[in-house]
């Protein structure tokens, strides 16, 4: 029974089953804690074990078309929903499950175990893994909607006025973006009669230039993508979500948002691959988000808000990779998504530790943290170097490739902007580092019994992972590059 093909949907089905199970055991914290730890190990184990492959939910291979019934342009059609598991999906799933494991451990360690809270985390994990794996555009849409509700629920769980407002804004614009994605899908279904992404891309390439209906579908799907990844008009909403959730949960949310950005951008590029205007529009919105995000990050006086704007602007940098359109650019973008997710997770875990240790994240009140927690200070310094692309660490490898890809794609100015952005990110976070750890005269009393050994362990592991990828980038980059080239985007 457990051949490779059934393992692929298990990555989505198992978290859902665990979510339902944990949801029922709401009161019994001990069993919730045990079940979530066990299921975490299984979640991390499955993507590592599964081989590349395709899972057909309808059980049939590609079937012959029915000429008299359907006027579909391509000879063969997939019946039913298809999940495909390639190199990029494998790396994204492994990183996603590991970081989910870390944030669940952090939540358990904080004695905040409530069954419903854990259920929401598992549902958002199931939704984001389904989005990464789905090769069917409607299945992708359903799980984006589930992800919006699950993320909003995680922010609502903080029970503060600001978090309710953030969740409400997030859901209001989630409705708009969900409706526009579904409208785009409806128009594609109407004009091509297909929902499978591989068949859809063949049909559109075989069908020649995009009809005006196809153009409207592209515009609507791009708007949905802007929302899912937190680019220009939705960057404030996404940074509010990161800011108002608990810091270890926003470490998880930013992972999901960046991987949904990558998954949906891959879908857009495969379906509308021969369309140059899409690339320049994505490039425009991405660059604008990068600059607005880092300009806003430099203005903040509160640590969590500063980190959320840095996360949004780094997501824009990933979208810049996609905006370049060349396989080298897309591979560099995906590689940067993985690097950036790891280093941002460190900073968010450090923010959660600072929030517990000093009970505030306002930078003016913090200070003299280095005497209290030297290890966390040192790791934050390393993380600042990691995220702003300083050589030994991983973001350097991906930002250097992004600059080279933009030069090859004929837009060297973007390279200059990427360098300027990494300088601005460095200034923003090093300012936060100075004000937390080095600034004399801290107006905050230290919470003695908070030791945070688990958080310290997590951030050390993550910074070592960043260093490892930084020193040996090709073990992660080459499979991504080969996958992107094989997509023929």
């Amino acid at each position: 029974m457990l051949n490779n093909s059934t393992l692929i949907p298990l990555m989505v089905v198992l978290p859902l089953i665990m979510a339902i199970l944990v949801n029922f055991l709401h009161q019994k914290d001990k069993s919730v804690k045990f079940i979530s730890i066990v299921s975490l190990i299984v979640f991390v184990f499955i993507p590592v074990v599964t081989l590349y492959g395709v899972h057909l939910f309808s059980g049939h291979l590609r079937t012959g078309s029915f000429p008299e019934v359907s006027k579909i342009l391509i000879p063969e059609v997939y019946m039913g929903i298809v999940y495909s598991y390639g190199a990029v999906q494998k790396i994204l799933m492994v990183v996603l499950t590991i970081l989910t494991g870390f944030s669940v451990l952090a939540v358990i360690n904080k004695k905040m175990i409530s069954g419903v809270y854990m259920a929401m985390i598992f549902i958002s994990l199931a939704a984001s893994s389904a989005i990464i794996l789905a090769d069917d555009i409607f299945n992708f849409f359903v799980f984006t909607e589930i992800l919006v509700v699950a993320q909003a629920a995680l922010v609502i769980a903080v029970q503060e006025a600001k978090s309710f407002k953030a969740a409400f804004k997030y859901m209001i614009f989630g409705t708009i973006s969900g409706a526009s994605i579904l409208l785009g899908i409806a128009l594609l279904l109407g004009s091509y009669g297909l929902l499978n992404i591989t068949d859809l891309s063949h049909a559109i390439q075989a069908g020649g230039a995009l009809t005006p209906i196809g153009l409207v579908a592209v515009a609507l799907l791009t708007l949905g993508w802007l929302y899912e990844s937190g680019l220009f008009p939705f960057h404030i909403i996404k940074s509010n979500i990161y800011e108002n959730a608990r810091p270890e949960i926003s470490a998880l949310l930013q992972v999901q948002s960046k991987f949904v950005l990558v998954a949906m951008a891959l879908i857009l590029f495969r379906v509308f691959s021969g369309y140059a205007l899409l690339k320049s529009v994505i490039l425009g919105f991405a660059i604008f988000t990068v600059v607005i995000g880092s300009v806003m990050a430099l203005q903040q006086v509160e640590l969590r808000k500063l980190l959320s704007f840095v996360a949004v602007s780094q997501a824009g940098l990933v979208a810049v990779g996609f905006g370049l359109g060349t396989p080298f650019g897309i591979a560099a973008g995906i590689f940067h998504a993985i690097n950036d997710v790891l280093s941002m997770a460190i900073l968010f875990f450090i923010a959660s530790f600072v929030y517990d240790k000093f009970k505030t994240t306002k930078l003016d009140e913090l200070g003299e943290g280095l005497q209290v927690v030297p290890l966390v200070g040192f790791v934050m310094l390393l993380a600042t170097l990691a995220i702003s692309g300083v050589p030994p660490f991983n973001s350097y490898q991906s930002e250097w490739r992004l600059i080279q890809a933009s030069a090859q794609a004929g837009v060297p100015e973007l390279g200059i902007l990427v360098i300027l952005l990494s300088v601005a990110t460095f200034v923003a976070i090093i300012k936060a580092f100075y004000m937390i750890f080095m600034k004399p005269g801290s107006k905050v009393e230290v919470n003695k019994e908070v030791r945070g050994n688990l958080t310290k362990a997590i951030i050390v592991i993550l910074i070592l992972a960043c260093l490892l990828i930084g020193l040996f980038p090709n073990m992660v980059y080459d499979p991504i590059y080969n996958f992107v080239v094989s997509l023929g985007v």
């Binding site: 515009a219 008009p233 880092s294 430099l298 902007l417």
Partner: protein, 103 residues
């Protein structure tokens, strides 16, 4: 004007007050200006249609007159829902015009 930039920023950022804030605000101002200049050069160099070219020039000229643009950017990016709705509606219209108009 250049030698008094620090005083302008210091006077503008009275509420935040600390020296670090002004340093980072200057960095963000520098980033914003370089983005505008480089973006305009990029658009002028690659845009094949003249509309985009003139549009970029007009935007650049308009923004350069309000030099400390960073505080305006921060005012534009507040948490209020009405501002975000305006920008979302603007983006929806912009996307449809660009894709259907084929600029």
């Amino acid at each position: 004007m250049l030698d008094r930039v620090y005083e302008i920023f210091h006077e503008k950022m009275k509420d935040k007050g600390q020296g670090m804030g002004i340093g980072s605000a200057l960095t963000s101002e520098f980033l914003m200006l370089s983005f505008l200049l480089i973006g305009t050069i990029l658009v002028l160099r690659t845009a094949n249609s003249t509309i985009l070219g003139f549009g970029a020039l007009i935007i650049l000229a308009g923004v350069l007159f309000t030099v400390p643009t960073v505080f305006k950017v921060e005012k534009e990016n507040t948490d209020s829902i009405n501002l975000s709705s305006f920008y979302v509606a603007l983006t929806l219209a912009l996307l449809l015009i660009i894709f259907l108009g084929g600029i």
